[in-house]
Symmetry: C2
Subunit: 521 residues, 2 copies
């Protein structure tokens, strides 16, 4: 089975399904003009792309409309590829694995159904962006704080279902999710956990019901379409302190990582620090994103947008002032032995106005923004694209150093640059390596993809694989999960066959194919 | 379908299966004498019990033996009921839902396969008890600390799979689990998450692989037999401070709960505090478990074993000394407005010797023990049993007060006493109400069960249901999960049919029956 598996429904079936959807849901719900479908392609596919091509787009506004679409897709035997906002550009945006899939895009389902101030949660639909929830919290004068990823334009549910990260407390979105509503391929609507009790007061308060918890089953999968999700939010802290632990030499990374690990394990550092590698020597270099870098090297242009230092660990503390200060002292003591280390921290009151926040601190402040993309466009132009290499590695200095050396060597050989770093969990690091290319330069785009493939292969030798991936990499990655003759993927297939026997929903998502899809191939 | 559904395999099939198992695994692996099977019954079933009766017991020592047993069970069409240690006495011990099930008991699979000091985890088999891991950590001079439940004799995996709680950081065992090995009904062996990569260095370090995470699917279910599980452990703190926030009047509970909630939401209090309700007026009452309470009222006997106060919230702080002290200050300030409140805290060094620890602090210290059961036996005699009422409720003072009043009224009407309190999560409380009875007093046992049924019915009116339950209560509880014509349970059935089409594994566990079981009924 490859990612170019043929369209299941014939073109005539597609036409009929499109007509039926327009009839049932209204013409405005179906996008089929090339110009309107364009943004649901891989935004970085360049010209002449042949793979991962959507046919048309359907945008329901309600759960009932999602059910109707699933029903029509079943009837005509066509594939639906679910996307929420489709903003995970480095992973292909809304582009389907199987050519000709209909993009079921959920942007119009954008209601914030509940914000519970006392219990600290929200219940949202898939079209709710980080921006939207932030604005609503502010409009209500809420004292709750969000965890946000680097760019605020994405869907909260979309990011969560992809195992995406923010950086603050609850930044592991998948762990902060609490309760879902899901439309199955049968058209049936399920609520998980306490939500399975009609009118439960606990759907977003307690993660489990009685019996197995299924929320994680609907993440990184194609077992259903998530139409509502609960999300835990933290209370706005009295203060928060955020900033950088900076090291200046290539060889400092192992020591820095090993110094951070105990602080993550015992919870001194909260949330998910980002450790950034900068490609330029740090002597005298400052964070200088507004400088004009025209004519400078790619590495210099990239460095201008990055936090200071050869290595920069972005750490944060939230809470009552006395506890935050004690955490800060503990951090300072724990890194003081690192050669030439500097610790640069800034403290803000909870609920600080965005205008008062250093650009690097917007994300730790839980304020959705577009700073990083704006800077990429400023320094590299509007046609910059990226493909991402995102392996999970052990949280050890040795692994991090090995990882970075491998990546840097492959980049240098290819003449490419990448935004590179790690998001820290308690016991693992998630690599974030955005390999940049000009989307109008087919050669550079190919080189970038080849480089990432090389990185994946080297990582696999060490038992590491990616936590998310562009569709072009999926089959490579799933092939690594080989224990007992790929038992886990055989189990995924059994589950897919049970929940979606005709293989309607997002075939090939994360390497999961039903038997029906394999037969159709 | 009721819990007394008939034996699937005929008695002759059972005999043949037993012979085959003895042949393949050795005579010692099969227990069929009444005297040896006895402890795998509901320990509190009393005389003349007719329901939840095991036929015989099989105890494999390896994964391959589990596979062989599953194979034989499939061949003869008999039911296997999996138990690890079977120490969850208030929930029925190893007693199967379906009469005549063969207890697949995993006590002999008791290897600690790995303890990783640097990354803070252990990999264990189902027969490893909290006692065993603690002893091994001490024997190795480890600086890791466990979270333990009230009694240390249970299986770590068994407790985790039942969504059981400890009280410290990582006390929500299900959230601290990382990576499983599971034998499916097909006999296939699956490793979840990063474990699906052969020889992964990340199986116990990172919770997810590429695709949906399935660990939670094998908790509170009958979809597979967990034969290995990773467990996250915290580093031994520099110090820990633990103790009680005590209130003295009936009406204080709402204020106490509401004062604790923000401290849980922002992480000031770590782990999972237990809030204990004591049935006796607190004037002058001390924790006095060693007193002779012969001839005193049930309430007085119970109170002697409980921490002081009408209400006692057991809170703990772990970590570097400066942070622990700041947490303590924050707590003291946050409860100071409660009328007549007293805060009694004790501070210990990490890794403290058990002999130096107050009996009430053994559990917060992560030291497995049997204190609570010993005290029950001392004050109520060896024939004391209990049945538990354990609903999840919102973390609000109002809900807690309503819950306690309802329970107390039903207990008083029935002339029963119960150990009663809540385990706190960030946004929910899990009720723990152990209704005591004399197992030799059939009338009292019946009264206790009736009382718990009444409590369940009242709780259901408020949208609350139990997070765990005795087999006798399962069908009641699952009937509450009624959203969209019981969509969640219909989904469970689909999953069961996909993973165990013949319905071999633990039929009826948490109300999950495959279609095969329903047909057999």
């Amino acid at each position: 089975m490859t990612q170019t598996a043929g369209l299941k429904g014939s073109s005539s079936m597609l036409d009929q399904a499109r007509e039926r959807m327009a009839e049932v849901l209204g013409e405005d719900t179906v996008l089929d003009e090339e110009s309107r479908v364009r943004e649901f392609h891989d935004p970085y596919e360049g010209g002449n792309a042949k793979d991962y091509q959507p046919s048309f787009v359907v945008q329901p506004a309600t759960v009932e409309e999602v059910q109707a679409i699933v029903q029509i897709a079943s009837e005509f035997g066509i594939h639906l590829w679910t996307s929420s906002m489709g903003r995970n550009f480095g992973y292909g945006g809304s582009a389907p694995v199987v050519n000709g899939s209909v993009v079921l895009n959920l942007r119009r389902m954008n209601r914030i159904l509940e914000i519970n101030e006392e219990a600290g949660y929200a219940l949202v639909e898939p079209g709710v962006r980080f921006f939207d929830l932030y604005n609503e919290l502010k409009a209500r004068g809420s004292k709750l704080m969000m965890s946000v990823p680097d760019l605020g334009w994405g869907s909260i549910i979309g990011n969560t279902l992809e195992h995406g990260y923010g950086y603050t407390v609850n930044g592991d979105n998948a762990s902060a999710a609490c309760g879902m509503e899901v439309v199955l391929a049968s058209g049936d609507v399920v609520r998980t956990g306490q939500g399975a009790i009609t009118d439960s007061p606990l759907w977003q308060r307690h993660k489990r019901g009685f019996g197995p918890s299924l929320d994680s089953l609907f993440m990184q999968s194609n077992f259903g379409i998530v139409t509502k999700m609960g999300l835990w939010l933290m209370p706005e802290p009295e203060i928060f302190t955020t900033g950088s632990v900076i090291c200046h030499n290539d060889e400092d990374i192992a020591g820095l990582i090993d110094a951070l690990r105990p602080l993550m394990l015992d919870g001194t550092i909260q949330g998910h620090p980002l450790i950034v590698s900068s490609p330029e020597p740090p002597e005298g270099r400052r964070f200088s994103p507004m400088d004009d870098t025209t004519g400078q090297s790619k590495k210099a242009r990239l460095s201008a947008t990055l936090p200071p230092g050869r290595w920069d660990a972005r750490v944060s503390f939230y809470g009552p002032s006395a506890i935050v200060k004690a955490r800060e002292e503990t951090l300072r003591a724990a890194v003081s032995h690192l050669p030439g280390v500097t610790v640069e921290l800034r403290t803000y009151p909870g609920g600080v106005d965005p205008d008062q926040v250093h650009p690097l601190d917007l994300v730790p402040a839980g304020i959705p923004n577009m700073f990083l993309l704006d800077m990429m466009h400023k320094h590299f132009g509007e046609s910059i694209g990226h493909i991402d290499f995102s392996p999970v590695i052990p949280f050890t200095g040795e692994a991090a150093a090995r990882h970075e050396a491998m990546v840097q060597q492959i980049l240098d050989e290819a003449g490419l640059v990448a935004g590179f770093g790690w998001i820290a969990n308690s016991r693992s690091l998630v690599g974030a390596c955005m390999v940049f290319f000009d989307v109008n330069d087919a050669g550079e785009a190919r080189a970038a993809r080849d480089a990432v493939r090389k990185m994946c292969a080297r990582a696999a030798e060490w038992g590491w694989t990616e936590y998310r991936a562009h569709p072009a990499l999926i089959e490579d990655i799933t092939s690594r999960f080989d224990f007992n003759n790929h038992a886990l993927h055989r189990l995924y297939t059994s589950l897919k066959d049970a929940l979606d026997p005709a293989g309607i929903l997002s075939p090939g998502n994360h390497g999961i194919w039903g038997t029906a899809n394999r037969l159709a191939d």
